[in-house]
């Protein structure tokens, strides 16, 4: 056991339904798009605002009126409502404006709106009612330029969410190995113990287990704390072979071979010395404080035959495990995928360059390998042409931010997705890009610093990720309902459900909060 491990022995925890539990921000002031500001000098504590606001922005304890909870506010759209607090305030002590921090939040891919709406989903398990864009970012291409083209009326009006299946079978090879069926078409991406805290891993694995899906350990060993969740673990074998043992391979239902990582394609992994705490070092069988390099590539694999030998080795060690191959997106990504199929992989995972990582050179993240949006249809079509599409499970990862990204990736040709950053955002990552520096994430997510780890409990984290998963499941079912599809499997490769704004000039609206 590691010294700062959080023990969480809940025998009853496992797959099952999830009812969202409101799980507010860990910090005193939740961030928001709009800021309701009360001028204390003018306020007469009359409580009118508390009475009019139906969203709970204004609350009181006894006679004292608390600071407004701005993130619950509708924003300027409220001006049209008859309960607009600013108008009702007798001494005109209230004002509403854009929160200055809003303009500093986020980036092109994870815009402030996406961060805020993901936080909302993690808190409530529902879509935000305020004017937040929850589907796309602002990168100006790829997923952000694709829209679902819903029919004006759902084809099957009787179709209810309960009738729609999100199940994803992983073994499509019929090779006698066990089937693993996930209840949602995504699983958690590899983040090693060391790059993120044990609390982060436990929160994610508990959510994965509740939603009957998987979590990849990343290349950092298999912490004992994960043993109760063995059936929901994918363990990673990467080039450094850190923490890989026969025992770890025999525990799990799927083993992931990491050939490359989208954020640093063609380059090895690097865990900075500061993050190699005694616990991390023990897990990885190395020395505390000394940086760990994971070389690139596997020097034992220079051909599809070598590749097959590797997979056979895993299959031999664990006869019930499925094998997944994680590759990046070079020009010949389609050939790599076919090669992986012939080597015996059940799952081919394409990792795009937008994915999160502990530390990667900016030049690699931006410039090396093609965007995942191009790679998915390229590989899908090639596998179809080769006649082996039905035997491969194609997983997209590296920049899947929203339920809409999941649905779009599937419509482009993937079977499912791996998500990582979105879960960290649910745990209140603000994408400050400082995961790697010093003690690591000062928000207590991507760190192993004992003091920082304490900023987050497993209980809180589990609920946040479960709420997010709940909101995503609802959105995916709603998208399928509008197309009259009973299963997510029907959406695979259906590019006709999408329009690309560069090729389509009429306005398209795919906001599922509105309409039928």
């Amino acid at each position: 056991m590691t010294e700062h491990a959080v023990k969480y022995d809940d025998e009853a925890w496992g797959p099952g339904p999830w009812t969202p539990v409101r799980t507010p921000c860990r910090f005193r002031n939740p961030l928001s798009k709009w800021r309701v500001w009360r001028n204390e000098a003018k306020c007469i504590q009359c409580g009118t605002c508390v009475e009019v606001c139906p969203y709970g922005v204004h609350t009181r304890v006894g006679k004292f009126i608390r600071k407004p909870q701005s993130y619950l506010c509708l924003g300027p759209a409220c001006d049209k409502k008859d309960f607009y607090c600013v108008r009702h305030c007798p001494p005109q002590a209230l004002s509403l404006r854009l929160h200055p921090v809003y303009t500093t939040l986020g980036d092109h891919r994870w815009t402030a709106d996406l961060l805020l709406s993901t936080w909302w989903m993690a808190e409530f398990g529902t879509l935000p009612y305020a004017d937040l864009e929850y589907r796309t970012g602002n990168s100006g291409g790829g997923f952000d330029k694709l829209r679902f083209f819903f029919p004006p009326q759902p084809r099957d009006l009787k179709l209810r969410h309960e009738d729609i299946s999100l199940e994803l079978p992983l073994n499509r090879r019929h090779d006698g190995r066990p089937q693993v069926v996930l209840s949602v078409p995504w699983y958690s991406a590899g983040m090693s113990f060391g790059s993120v805290s044990i609390n982060t891993i436990l929160s994610r694995v508990r959510a994965a287990s509740r939603f009957n899906t998987l979590l990849s350990t990343g290349e950092g060993g298999y912490p004992e704390e994960l043993h109760p969740y063995d059936d929901h673990i994918v363990t990673q074998v990467a080039t450094g072979l850190f923490g890989v043992r026969e025992d770890t391979i025999q525990r799990v239902r799927m083993v992931e071979f990491k050939y490359a990582q989208g954020a640093k394609p063609g380059l090895g992994g690097h865990l900075l010395g500061d993050k190699v705490t005694p616990a991390v070092a023990r897990m990885r069988e190395s020395v505390p404080g000394s940086a760990l390099f994971s070389p690139f590539p596997f020097h034992s694999v220079y051909s599809v035959e070598d590749h097959k030998k590797h997979l056979d080795w895993i299959k031999e060690v664990n006869p019930r495990a499925l094998v997944s191959v994680k590759v990046s997106t070079p020009t010949d990504v389609d050939m790599v995928a076919v090669g992986s199929y012939y080597a015996g992989a059940h799952v081919v995972q394409l990792d795009g360059s937008y994915g999160g990582t502990g530390a990667a050179p900016d030049i690699a993240k931006k410039n090396i390998a093609m965007p995942i949006e191009y790679a998915i249809p390229k590989v899908h079509q090639f596998l179809v042409q080769e006649g082996i599409r039905d035997q491969v499970t194609l997983i997209a990862s590296g920049g899947i931010r929203t339920a809409f990204d999941v649905a779009k990736a599937i419509a482009l040709g993937a079977d499912g997705c791996q998500v990582g950053t979105a879960e960290l955002v649910a745990l209140e990552c603000i994408r400050c890009y400082q995961c790697e520096s010093g003690r690591g994430c000062v928000r207590g997510i991507a760190t192993t610093d004992p003091e920082l780890v304490e900023l987050m409990t497993v209980e809180w984290g589990t609920r946040r990720v479960c709420n997010l998963y709940h909101a995503w499941s609802w959105q995916l079912r709603e998208i399928l309902r509008r197309f009259g599809m009973r299963s997510i499997r029907e959406l695979v490769g259906r590019t006709d459900t999408l329009v690309h704004l560069d090729y389509y000039n009429l306005p398209v609206e795919d906001d599922i909060r509105r309409g039928v």
Partner: protein, 471 residues
């Protein structure tokens, strides 16, 4: 194996506080005087370290703040807020963006590659160099580990004319005198920036950097004072149209000269070569609509090296004003290939090379190497405000810089660039930068990916809106 090239970087602190993308605003009014104020518990100690810089009259907190928002989210009265910094947005221009400036300052200060956590957060693609992705090797093609030093990747190039074949005499000796070549260990020449508040110290720093990097500093002949002349072997003299004194004693001490293209340039090259046969000459050709034909003509006539230059935003001139350096380079390179001249001549490109990735991409598009100028000025903390061009005061006192400091900053920047070039080469599995030239097959262009992948899926024939009825 050639001697291993290593650039010795060492931290060289900036003289002025950096301009943060966002800035901290805090109000004292209404403060509750908590016993544990968020400013005391800042994980980065930004509030303890902050000071006031009396030269730029600004708070130095942006240098320490890493945007974790713990203070913003922790202050009970919400008195601490982060807001966009208007000064940051005013930096540079739409090509030399604030992000490029900041990244360059970081590299010049530390000599390190910019590394960050979390994924890529930038735009999907963009104009110019941002429309290219480089390839990587996977499974069946080995990569090279140049960065951690386990494998050697050469970044050396040779400037000069190359014979297409060798001729030997009966005794097996080379039957002709091979043309002179200049080998530089990194594919970058350093050019004197076209403006700066302190041209003299900037040139000193630049020459020092050229010496340390074993490359050349491209400086106009008229600007070479006796002190610089002492460093002649690290200089490439550049001459404006039609003015070369072949008896200039400096010519016998430099290895490369650059002559500006004009009608009589070939005669000029011949005159220089007759007097100084060991000298390599380079002809500076503007990237206009006739550049490809002109470069081909010059190469056929025996030019040794060509310098194709664009403006500072990587745009061509005259009829090629709308074209980007990458496209112009591809045209010039392909024309030379088709005319069977490509391997005879060295092609260098300049204009708008702002980041390390631009070096790799320019080479992919057909250049042998690049010439950089503005990034070297940025390394000296220049803010590209261009006040010096208007006769104003330099906000970062470039006129009074210490050339030793400046040299190390420029060496740091080039060291970081070289490492990034190694990252790109390593990921592609290339062992030398010369192999990268013109390798468009190891790159992905957004227009090709759109045409091959998205267009067949999303551009449908028929009138707009027909699907709506069809649904």
């Amino acid at each position: 194996m050639p001697e291993k090239y290593h650039i010795h970087v060492r931290p060289m602190p900036s003289r002025f506080p950096s301009v943060g993308k966002t800035t901290v605003l805090d109000w004292g009014e209404g403060c509750l005087r908590c016993t544990r104020c968020v400013k005391e518990t800042c994980p980065y100690n930004a509030f303890r370290q902050r000071g006031f810089d009396d030269r730029s009259l600004s708070d130095t907190i942006d240098t320490y703040c890493k945007n974790c928002l713990r203070c913003v989210q922790g202050c009970p009265r919400e008195l601490v807020v982060k807001a966009a910094n208007p000064q940051y947005r005013r930096l540079g221009d739409d090509y030399w963006t604030p992000a490029i400036l900041q990244s360059t300052w970081f590299q010049a200060e530390t000599g390190k590659i910019p590394v960050s956590g979390a994924g890529y957060g930038g735009p999907f693609a963009g104009p110019g160099f941002d429309s290219i992705w480089t390839d990587m090797s996977e499974i069946v093609r080995p990569t090279r580990d140049g960065i951690h030093g386990r494998e050697y990747i050469s970044t050396a190039i040779e400037l000069g004319r190359k014979p297409l074949f060798l001729v030997f005499d009966a005794e097996g000796r080379l039957a002709f005198e091979p043309p002179p070549r200049v080998e530089i260990p990194l594919p970058i020449l350093l050019a004197d920036p076209p403006f700066s508040a302190g041209p003299v110290p900037v040139r000193r720093a630049l020459t020092g950097a050229a010496r340390r990097l074993r490359t050349l500093a491209v400086i106009a002949r008229e600007n070479v004072d006796p002190e610089l002349a002492a460093e002649a072997e690290h200089l490439c003299l550049t001459f404006p149209t039609g003015r070369v004194d072949t008896e200039d004693p400096l010519l016998s001490r430099v290895r490369l000269v650059e002559l500006t293209d004009h009608e009589g340039v070939l005669a000029q090259v011949e005159a220089v070569k007759r007097r100084h046969p060991g000298l390599v000459t380079m002809i500076k050709v503007p990237a206009d609509e006739g550049a490809a034909a002109r470069v081909s003509e010059l190469a056929r006539a025996g030019a040794e090296a060509i310098h194709l230059f664009c403006d500072h935003h990587a745009r061509g001139f005259l009829g090629a004003r709308e074209r980007h350096l990458k496209d112009l380079l591809r045209t010039v390179h392909l024309t030379l290939v088709e005319d069977n001249l490509r391997d005879t001549v060295t092609l260098l490109a300049s204009g708008g090379i702002a980041l390390a990735e631009h070096v790799a991409k320019a080479i992919i598009c057909g250049a042998d190497g690049v010439i950089v100028d503005l990034p070297l000025l940025l390394a000296l903390e220049c803010r590209l405000c261009r006040a010096c061009q208007r006769g104003g005061r330099c906000p970062v006192d470039i006129d009074s810089l210490d050339p030793v400091w400046g040299t190390q900053r420029q060496v740091n920047l080039m060291g970081a660039w070289n490492h990034q070039l190694l990252e790109v080469l390593g990921a592609m599995g290339l062992r030398e930068v010369r192999r990268l030239r013109g390798e468009v097959g190891r790159a992905m262009f957004v227009e090709d990916l759109e045409r091959e992948i998205f267009a067949p899926l999303f551009s449908r024939p028929g009138p707009e809106g027909f699907r709506r009825e069809g649904e």
